[in-house]
Symmetry: C2
Subunit: 334 residues, 2 copies
């Protein structure tokens, strides 16, 4: 007899993230099926339980009491949620979309917040679609799990159980559940994910203007900073445009730092003292936060994120989540 | 009897680049010795022929008719060249400094251009010093080799032979000699190396301001674009400040692209259409230029740089270098 760690999982959208999730759940012997607009045949040929009929998939999710994972691009989320409302009206819902505030607004508009816990695995590659999906994508990655509903004091036992399930979903595929409010999530990913995407696009243009000679002379620093510019432009736009409220002020911060450097580099004598020293200190601070937790001599790979064991629904659990959030830590649910 | 491919090599400065060059030349059974201000004992303990007495090392270079490789930071180049003038007045000279115009100015001031061919291996890591040096650092890397003197029609047989030797030096350690004029070199590396360093510093600051939560949620795109911010600030300043004339206009191009994106992201509706699409196209153009040359089914790793066989000193050889330069190609000397 097989014991499942999770309810049946119904994934809507099988691109890089949704597809990789389906693969990982399958090798973990969980029950998983899904819908995809593109690539259903390829996924079926690969042996997965996939359909391109959304209504059929959702009716099955409702019958199986599955957890629905919304894994479509932001632009398609509203219409997918409308179909969930029609065909799977009692299913619990999570998602893997890269912005959380816009998704939550759509959830609230549909009065679905009592059966929704948001998610966002911080993993990906520069490739997209089912054909890019692969096992092990989430290993060691942070998986943001939102908890605004509980923070507002509205969570009942059902919601607490759903929160537990979403954390376990992350854990089953090797990721680490990081609790975070939607607004803080969006500001954080603007800094560490969306801004790097903007940079990669602009740097690719500046590099390309240097022609084949500049390209020939480019090495690791250029490669590292431009790699994600090969991401489908539609996906980059989706991320950046839907998170524009958080991204614009972060972009302003970044431009201001560059302008200050530009001014002092144009001085006589040219100087980049301030940016080089403060940037390096910032880098070392981040490295120290990570490194300090890597001192163990154990051969087991140890996460650099502090961990707190939390029992969702127990007294004080929301305060625990707030503490973990302030540390960028991870929760282990029990 | 050992046959050497190179004259004795005298390396001045044994940091990451100079030290790695010494290691590679040693395993290739070439004759190599050097000077370093820091780390001479560590290098001696590792079995290398190293001294911290510059005068002694240079007198030996003169006696051995060695090729001198200047591998000190830009700030120390002038004083090192003065000592070369005093103690090794007939030795040929090359260098591995990351800017070429400033070095060439110092060479011309000392009337050394008839015995100087500039070089710059496009390789490195975020670490520095002898302890960071290692074998294989230059494998497959571009090694810029300057040829302004020949372009001005001044090269005699001696200079052509020196050009051959410097290309061979690159080749012995697995790098590919890319001919380039000093001014074009400096503009190109501003685009593909110095700008990425500026970006890494500024992005580290923006990321660090997001605290441990943002750090915890960061993944590959952030890591890739910030890695080189761990480079010693002194080295970054040295590179960027000495190349400020080329870096400032490139930084202006980059800031302008970011400002345009910022404006359209702040619009209603937010848009990043132009930057996302043009940045991705630029990336794909670069990838296509590389990829087209990777179609071979041979298991041998093939360079993506077009190659031209050149005999330095032969009729038309300078025109050949100009052609190779315009393609970012590499030369094989014979």
């Amino acid at each position: 007899m097989t014991t499942y760690q999770l309810p049946p999982i119904c994934i809507l959208g099988l691109g890089l993230i949704g597809g990789s999730l389906m693969r990982d759940l399958t090798i973990s012997n969980e029950r998983v099926f899904g819908y995809t607009m593109h690539g259903a045949r390829a996924a079926q040929r690969d042996g997965f339980d996939v359909s391109d009929n959304m209504e059929e998939v959702l009716r099955r999710a409702e019958a199986d009491n599955a957890l629905i994972v919304v894994a479509v691009p932001m632009a398609a989320v509203a219409s997918v949620l409308d179909q969930v409302a029609s065909f799977a009206p009692t299913c619990d819902i999570t998602d893997v979309v890269s912005v959380k505030e816009r998704v939550y607004d759509l959830i609230v508009e549909r009065d679905m917040q009592g059966r929704y816990v948001g998610g966002h695995p911080m993993a990906g590659t520069e490739f997209s679609g089912w054909s890019a999906s692969h096992e092990g994508l989430f290993e060691g990655a942070a998986w943001a799990v939102t908890y605004d509903y509980a923070r507002e004091g509205l969570a009942d036992d059902h919601w607490a159980a759903l929160f537990t399930t979403v954390c376990r979903l992350a854990s089953v595929v090797g990721a680490e559940a990081v609790p975070v409010r939607v607004s803080l999530h969006d500001e954080s990913v603007a800094r560490v994910s969306h801004l790097p995407h903007v940079i990669a696009e602009a740097l690719s243009l500046v590099g390309d203007r240097g022609g084949t000679l500049a390209q020939s002379l480019s090495a690791g620093s250029f490669r590292g900073a431009t790699r994600v510019a090969s991401t489908e432009p539609e996906l980059v736009r989706n991320m950046c445009e839907t998170n524009a409220d958080s991204l614009v002020p972060v972009l302003d911060e970044f431009i201001e730092l560059l302008q200050a450097a530009r001014t002092s580099l144009a001085d006589d004598p040219a100087s980049m003292k301030q940016l080089a020293e403060s940037g390096n200190r910032a880098y070392l601070r981040m490295a120290a936060r990570k490194g300090a937790r890597r001192e163990s001599v154990s051969p087991v790979k140890i996460s650099s994120r502090p961990v707190m064991r939390v029992h969702p629904g127990a007294p004080g659990w929301v305060r625990q989540l707030e503490q973990v959030e302030s540390l960028g830590g991870r929760v282990e649910v029990f």
